[in-house]
Subunit: 195 residues, 2 copies
């Protein structure tokens, strides 16, 4: 019973991921999601109270996965600079491997504060903090200048990667390969923050 429920709500989220990515949240119809999931419209309302809830659940599920993966990747390196480069690479790789999810996070996450009044995306903050923690570690080890403010640097670094992904998500063909982009972007920050 418990098992089956999870199975079906995951199926709905998978369908919603596809439809939200294609049409955007507002233009996506419940009936389309239902059709994509191979169920009746009404069934969705057994698993989710409102349309909004599907998007929230989608964020939670995807961000949990992303966060878990990235934590594991970072733990494979000990040097802060190597961690930064690995973060860049896997962030971009993630986007590439999950275009639909990426597009939703890119586009709909931005609006989240608008249509979901009190939804605080804690998982996203934690994701940012992965970068902040690496920078902090670098400062403590004397590798990164004491002038660097982690709260700014973590956002700048994430923003740089994020803009690169947006470019990929919205354009048809990828102009630069992942390795190159990850190496370039992380090198700006690594060299720029060095002690």
């Amino acid at each position: 019973m418990r098992h089956k429920n999870n199975e079906k709500s995951r199926k709905i989220i998978a369908a919603a991921t596809k439809i939200f990515a294609k049409k955007g949240f507002y233009k996506a119809k419940i009936s389309e999601i239902a059709k994509e999931a191979g169920i009746a419209d009404g069934t969705i309302y057994i698993y989710f109270k409102h349309k909004d809830d599907i998007l929230i659940a989608l964020f939670e599920e995807k961000m949990k996965e992303v966060l878990g993966n990235m934590k594991k990747q970072i733990s494979l390196e000990s040097d802060p600079f190597a961690k930064i480069e690995r973060f860049a690479y896997f962030h971009l790789k993630l986007i590439e491997d999950n275009k639909d999810m990426a597009e939703i996070i890119q586009v709909e996450l931005r609006q989240s504060s608008k249509f979901m009044k009190n939804y605080q995306n804690k998982k996203f903050a934690q994701y940012l903090d992965l970068i902040g923690d690496i920078i902090q570690e670098g400062k403590e080890k004397g590798l990164i200048s004491q002038d660097i403010i982690p709260g700014i640097a973590k956002r700048a670094f994430f923003g740089a990667l994020d803009e690169m992904s947006r470019f990929w998500v919205l354009s048809k063909r990828r102009k630069y390969d992942i390795e190159t982009a990850a190496r370039q972007i992380s090198s700006y920050f690594i060299n720029g923050m060095k002690n």
Copy 2:
């Protein structure tokens, strides 16, 4: 006649800027915009064919202004690194001075490809190219390493600033002042791209 039309459509755009920023495009009602502009609902349809057109016109108008301002600011410096720092400062200042516009660009511009199938935001591309050109100039003058790919670096730099603005736009209080953020972010890139 020409004069009056422009005057009124600017009034509508100003009202729309306020309402779109507060509610987001989809939740903003034409009737609200009309009320804010002090005109009747139907009047909007004399100046704009659809709701979408208001948003497109809004982008065009704001981006044109932003682009013009930034071009002027950049031209005040001759050193590429100084240009980069000035770009960072005025970009962030612009956000601060035009919160409503910033919020719309942050949030709604992201969706533009979704609801306006064939609207290519050329002004935005030009804005990015301002950065690309500075980097190119820096390479030619031997200040910036030949390894730096302007197409990646311009997006990374813009993304870094953009993420910082998003943080400001979506949060109540500003944690870091503009000068600090601009100096930090531009220093990562300047030092990171140096020859």
